[in-house]
């Protein structure tokens, strides 16, 4: 028996999301009295994989095959399932990010393993196997029992955290039969070197109150000072002031960063649905009646065009 953490690679490096996946897998393994093993598919630096021991993995199995560098979920699913069987994996853990959303459901179906997608807590293992997840777009939580022998969990980014426990992992390479992919990657577009919204711990977001895309300079400046990602309301991405991938909410991306700063966003229920699980929420709005204040930890009633530059100056001072 073992808990398997799916380790995501990009350019030979381990992606940040996988540190959380590893931490979660290690804590789950501890609860079950077994070990946590990482599974990495594609090209990687051995030192990167060894370092995963810090997050509690005893071993990392590396299927070192460059054919797996691109994510074809159909090809990868077969490789992961074979390794699950070979390693005696009982629980398979992913991050509920773009990669996890492509792979976890495939593995669930392939292994006939019940899946909880978007978990926010460790499994409760006394008696059954119950995992809590967000439901109703952040307006509720559901405890879900996995009734099959094998289990798949994908964890909501930032909901468990990265936990360093020390140690180094033994890296083993494994061979695998890799089918030819029918999916051809023609082009990969990196959106500058900004922090991806889905992984960000700090997010600066703005809404229609900013009146036009030309006024986003101060928002981007705040994000730069903080090392934060930028986001926006649907009203803003609908009129193309900002790109679609920045749209957060019930019909956009759901996020749970440590800090969410909402500038000139009214706080419609559909917007709150995607951001209300953020740890700390700051709202800047000129309307004291804006509904967002009801869901905020800190609020400033004021004109964004006055308040935001002042916040940037104060943040610069803080950051030295």
């Amino acid at each position: 028996m073992a808990v398997i953490a799916y380790i995501e690679l990009s350019g030979n490096k381990v992606k940040k999301a996988s540190l959380e996946t590893a931490s979660y897998a290690a804590a789950t393994a501890q609860k079950l009295g077994t070990e946590a093993i990482g599974l990495a598919l594609g090209s990687a630096d051995a030192s990167e994989l060894e370092a995963l021991g810090k997050y509690g993995l005893s071993k990392v199995v590396h299927v070192n095959n460059a054919q797996l560098d691109n994510l074809d979920s159909r090809v990868q699913s077969k490789v992961v399932a074979d390794q699950m069987n070979a390693l005696g994996g009982k629980v398979l853990v992913f991050s509920h990010n773009y990669t996890g959303k492509a792979l976890a459901p495939r593995l669930s179906a392939r292994l006939n393993a019940g899946l909880v997608a978007g978990a926010v807590a460790l499994p409760e293992t006394d008696g059954g196997f119950v995992v809590e997840k967000t439901a109703f777009s952040g307006k509720g939580l559901a405890k879900v029992s996995i009734n099959s022998d094998l289990k798949v969990i994908s964890i909501g980014p930032n909901s468990f955290g990265v936990k360093e426990v020390g140690g180094s992992a033994a890296v083993e390479t494994a061979d695998a039969a890799v089918e030819a992919s029918s999916v051809t990657v023609k082009e990969t577009v990196k959106l500058s070197d900004k922090i991806p919204l889905s992984e960000a711990e700090l997010v600066v977001s703005a809404g229609r109150g900013l009146r036009g895309p030309e006024n986003w300079g101060m928002v981007e400046e705040m994000a730069d000072i903080l090392g934060a990602a930028t986001a926006c309301s649907r009203a803003v991405s609908d009129v193309d002031w900002r790109p679609h991938h920045e749209h957060v909410g019930q019909t956009g991306l759901a996020i749970s960063p440590n800090l969410y700063i909402a500038i000139a966003i009214s706080g419609a229920i559909q917007h709150l649905a995607g951001v209300s699980s953020s740890k700390t929420i700051v709202v800047v709005n000129k309307d004291p009646e804006a509904p967002f204040f009801k869901s905020a930890d800190y609020g400033i009633v004021g004109d964004a065009f006055d308040v935001v530059p002042k916040m940037n100056a104060a943040l610069k001072k803080l950051k030295g």
């Binding site: 990010n97 495939r106 179906a109």
Partner: protein, 247 residues
């Protein structure tokens, strides 16, 4: 081109979310239901657009009881040609995916489209499961898709960027914002929908769910908002740093 679009019924986005029966059930009290937004706005509309451009047909499929017929009629009014309702309670995502796969496997669909995720269960999983059960390629969270012959060019979001892929039919995708623009059904569509076939088929009794909801709860409430004066922004930054330890 034969296109299948998967649609599901969800509480309206403004619904108050409450639970009953000792917090084991979602309270349907005063809740109105709609077609899941990404299914309607993106998955269905792109399916209909492809049919309009290339010919063929759009079938919608829904796993659920007759209370789903209203959203199914709406999908026919928006432009689907026919509908299949698999008559069963959608107990969990695997159950839903396996029922759809069971129906779809003999039908020869070229393109199968699901929404990005349902706004009640937030799984984002039915499409991937369906693809695995049918052994088809799956591209999740697609923002653009065009088809020429039997080759599709697809744009999808990835962490911090996007990818442009080509995939031969048949395949499964999940639809994200950008794929299409919402269409409001017109009177002609609504009239035509009445005459379009809605076939109700029995569920495969051999398929069972492998997860079950034990209980629901409301997310933890936030303490009241602390207001800081607009002329005292430094204080806000201090609080964020020292009290919230967020920066």
């Amino acid at each position: 081109m034969k296109i299948l679009v998967c649609i599901s019924k969800v509480p309206d986005t403004t619904s108050k979310i409450a639970f009953t029966d000792n917090n084991t059930k979602f309270s349907e009290d005063g809740v109105t239901y709609i077609m899941n937004p990404t299914d309607e706005w993106y998955a269905l509309v792109r399916g209909v657009e492809l049919k309009e451009a290339h010919g063929g047909s759009v079938t919608v499929v829904c796993v659920g009881d007759s209370s789903n017929d209203q959203i199914i009629r709406k999908s026919l009014a928006i432009g689907a040609d026919d509908a299949v309702r698999i008559d069963a309670q959608p107990d969990d995502s695997y159950f839903v995916a396996a029922q759809i796969a069971n129906y779809a496997k003999e039908q020869g669909f070229d393109v199968i489209i699901t929404g990005k995720e349902t706004i009640n269960y937030n799984g984002s999983v039915v499409g991937g499961m369906l693809a695995e059960l049918l052994d088809l390629p799956y591209v999740a969270l697609v923002t653009k898709m065009d088809i020429a012959g039997n080759e599709a060019t697809i744009e999808r979001e990835i962490e911090g960027g996007k990818e442009i892929l080509s995939v031969p039919t048949p395949f499964v995708i999940s639809a994200n914002k950008g794929l299409a623009e919402q269409r409001i059904p017109n009177m002609r569509g609504i009239m035509a929908a009445r005459k379009k076939p809605l076939n109700v088929i029995p569920a495969d009794a051999g398929i069972s769910a492998n997860t079950s909801v034990v209980s629901y709860s409301a997310p933890p409430a936030r303490t009241a908002c602390k207001y800081v004066d607009a002329d005292n922004v430094d204080e806000l930054i201090r609080l964020l740093h020292e009290e919230a330890k967020a920066i």
